[in-house]
């Protein structure tokens, strides 16, 4: 059963929301209901075969690791071992994804991030041993609305919501908002995304005039972007809506991404919970380590903040590309966005011309337009359109 797509899912969801509404409006906690229904949904999603076994072994490894780490949170070596162990199933799965898909289950990419966030914050001393109860841990990791494709919530935020029993009026507001978000998401994903997808077909570069062929490829790219946006933003709205109905104020994933004023702004608007996860746990930690250990070792380039940021951006986006999948299209997409962010960093920090004119209306319009086209080219890489054209040219 595919979440937020199959009719059976929506029927089951309606029942879950109806019971949640009764519980919530009568002043009961929704945490246990959320966990019980998540287990039922996951059983429907994963079946009784290898995917369920993979999920249970993942949970066992992650759980044992994080509990061990909580005993000695500042042990650097143990921290690396636990990070590695939590990441291992995802790495094995990604490496074997093109053949046998070992250790994989639907949602592994997202649940790995949530489990790693807990590991990082235990290590930082932000999550104590007594805040790692099994019920809390499972209700966070298995929460079905966010399980298969996010949004990637944060445990301390999630559990604060889960533990709180809101007053009746407040819950009524959350329920109403949740139902509206569900309906809006359905419109996005089941209507608009379906329409865009129907028209999206890869076409080879033809024999017509250069500009006409280019315009045709651009049209295909824009259609794909429309499909991807409505499909994923629609899914995210529904996931958010179902979360609200269960008392969880799930963070939003999209905020008008095509209005972005530069590439950094784009990543603050597109798949927000993924990009902020990478910002907090990859970019910021990597640049911090580079600055601290680089200074100790006397590396001169780490004194140049623009250079450090550029290295951080490329590594950050390459890691994101690997997470999408170990294929040329995804790695190319990650590298492309890393380079764009690095170039943007130079522009914003070092270009006197840009800095002198950045508040001018024409510059803002130009930046918006250029950013949109660069983002679209990124989608053409992501969707396989670029590699399709390159293959066509090579075999030509």
């Amino acid at each position: 059963m595919e979440f937020f797509a199959d009719p059976a899912f929506f029927v089951l969801l309606a029942v879950v929301v109806a019971v949640a509404a009764v519980l919530g409006l009568t002043g009961h906690s929704l945490q246990r209901w959320g966990l019980v229904t998540s287990v039922v949904f996951l059983a429907c999603l994963l079946g009784s075969g290898p995917q369920t076994v993979a999920l249970i072994t993942f949970l066992s490894v992650a759980r044992v690791g994080v509990v061990c780490l909580a005993g000695r949170p500042h042990d650097q070596r143990l921290f690396y071992v636990v990070c590695g162990g939590t990441l291992l199933p995802l790495v094995v799965y990604k490496l074997t994804a093109s053949s046998v898909s070992l250790w994989g289950f639907a949602g592994i990419s997202y649940v790995t991030f949530k489990a790693l966030q807990v590991v990082f914050e235990v290590h930082d001393g932000l999550i104590g041993r007594d805040e790692l109860g099994l019920l809390d841990y499972l209700s966070f990791l298995l929460f079905f609305p966010q399980f298969t494709s996010g949004p990637i919530d944060r445990s301390r935020r999630f559990l604060a919501d889960a533990h709180r029993v809101p007053p009746r009026d407040e819950y009524a507001g959350m329920l109403a908002r949740g139902i509206l978000l569900l309906l809006a998401g359905m419109g996005y994903k089941l209507v608009l995304a379906q329409l865009a997808q129907r028209w999206w077909v890869l076409e080879p570069w033809g024999d017509g005039p250069l500009l006409a062929e280019l315009a045709n490829q651009v049209r295909i790219t824009y259609l794909y972007a429309a499909y991807l946006f409505f499909d994923f933003a629609g899914y995210s709205l529904m996931a958010m809506g179902a979360s609200y109905c269960l008392g969880i104020r799930c963070p939003r994933n999209f905020r008008a991404p095509f209005l972005a004023s530069d590439v950094i702004d784009f990543w603050n608007r597109w798949h927000i919970t993924l990009s902020t996860w990478f910002r907090d746990f990859v970019f910021m930690r990597l640049t911090r380590t580079l600055m601290l250990s680089g200074r100790r070792r006397g590396w001169r380039w780490v004194r140049d903040r623009v250079r450090v940021a550029q290295v951080g951006f490329v590594a950050d986006m390459l890691a994101m590309g690997c997470w999408h999948g170990l294929t040329a299209d995804y790695l190319g997409y990650g590298l492309y966005h890393g380079v764009l962010l690095a170039a943007n960093e130079w522009l914003q920090k070092r270009s006197g011309f840009y800095r002198a004119h950045r508040r001018d209306r024409w510059m803002r319009a130009l930046m918006w337009f250029v950013t949109l086209q660069l983002v679209m080219l990124g989608f053409a890489i992501f969707s396989g359109q670029v590699s399709y054209l390159v293959k066509g040219a090579l075999n030509g």
Partner: protein, 83 residues
């Protein structure tokens, strides 16, 4: 006590001025530095590393939500609460 607090405040603001590369931070004590474009993720890390160097206070990147560390006065308060 008054002097000590004053100097933590002054040293934090100098550090912030250096990280943002703009003395204008002192004119925006209650404004969101991220919205003003004076601070970004890289600047935030430089600030955390600088605070660690200057005061021996370690703040992990996700320890304080952005909304509680986005203005000069809030940043000073975070440092004063720990130094």
């Amino acid at each position: 006590m008054g002097d000590a607090t004053e100097s933590v405040r002054e040293r934090t603001l100098s550090l912030l001025e250096e990280v943002c590369g703009d003395p204008a931070v002192r004119d925006h004590l209650d404004d969101d530095l991220f919205e003003l474009g004076l601070l970004d993720s890289m600047g935030a890390i430089e600030l955390l590393v600088g605070i660690e160097d200057e005061f021996g206070v370690s703040i992990a990147p996700t320890e304080v939500p952005r909304s509680e560390m986005n203005t000069p006065n809030k940043i000073v308060a975070q440092v004063e609460g720990r130094a």
